[in-house]
Symmetry: C2
Subunit: 169 residues, 2 copies
Amino acid sequence: MDDVRWLSAEEQEIWRAYLTASVAFSAHIDRQMRQDSGMPMAYYEILVRLSEAPHRRLRMSELADASLSSRSRLSHAVTALERNGWVERRPADGDRRGWVCSLTESGHAALAAAAPGHVTTVREHMFDVLTPEQLRSLREIGLAISAGLRTECEAARAEDDGQADPCDP
Amino acid sequence: MDDVRWLSAEEQEIWRAYLTASVAFSAHIDRQMRQDSGMPMAYYEILVRLSEAPHRRLRMSELADASLSSRSRLSHAVTALERNGWVERRPADGDRRGWVCSLTESGHAALAAAAPGHVTTVREHMFDVLTPEQLRSLREIGLAISAGLRTECEAARAEDDGQADPCDP
DNA sequence: CCGATGGTGTTGAGAGTTCAACCACCGGTA
DNA sequence: TACCGGTGGTTGAACTCTCAACACCATCGG
């Protein structure tokens, strides 16, 4: 890592355009969610993933993967969501290490109340400002970046020479 | 906000592709920065902005805008950076309310040490996985989304009927 | 000069995240 | 059976961020 391939002026411009938009957009969405529904975006994501799962329940580890969250983060988050009565945790049958997390009726109601504002925000600041072609492109870009992140994890895992895996969360 | 324009299946796919990539990518970058340089990405951003400013110094409010951070967040961050000796805060002359924050030599060294790893990560997971055309498109997409967020702020400000401005940070 | 208004920046408390242990359990192996 | 590495999940402390309140100063109008 000694001969760094620095970014050209043009590349810097691209990177900055992406970074600025990404940071500002996610901050905007998070703020909207907190103000209108009293929960951070990460919690909304958890509720969404639960609501989409069969029987509205998932193993903790599966929920962590689905909601792009570390196990530790999810554990804390579920504790908070449980306090609100939006979610329940019960032992998994068949594996006494595991727990399944399920969406309560009250949690489903909270999700239903939060969704309209969220979707409206996303539509206004994304689908209303981009052309259909840009949207198609954005989909491909997202898939490519995600794939790139995933393959690095697999490569690190494949080495399995005791190196720490930098892709846990 | 009663007749919500929900997302079509195709739109959901686009949104999810973007969200997944954006969250995973920023988490990856933040983790790399923390592990290799002991600071969160937000702090690196502050150092970068200072290093690019004339005389490597900026008013707190300008630095907050440049680093996409709220004033409160910047204030806490600068306190932490000051503790590391990477940054200094001194009263602004001409306006006794204000403070200017400047990058120290030690801060510049920390930035120089952190940059290679960061740039390498960005290149590997963005420039190496996207085509030139996708990169051009991503730049336009970023600019469009940022512009959309900005115009909403201006609209809110233009109303100036006592409504709170939801675009402060 | 005085008060009203607005901008600049800080502070403290509470919420959320990260990191590094840690415990409990599974599955395979000797 | 006993051991042992690997998995599932939690915990507590330190850290970062958000939000609301505040203090201070500038500026403008009377």
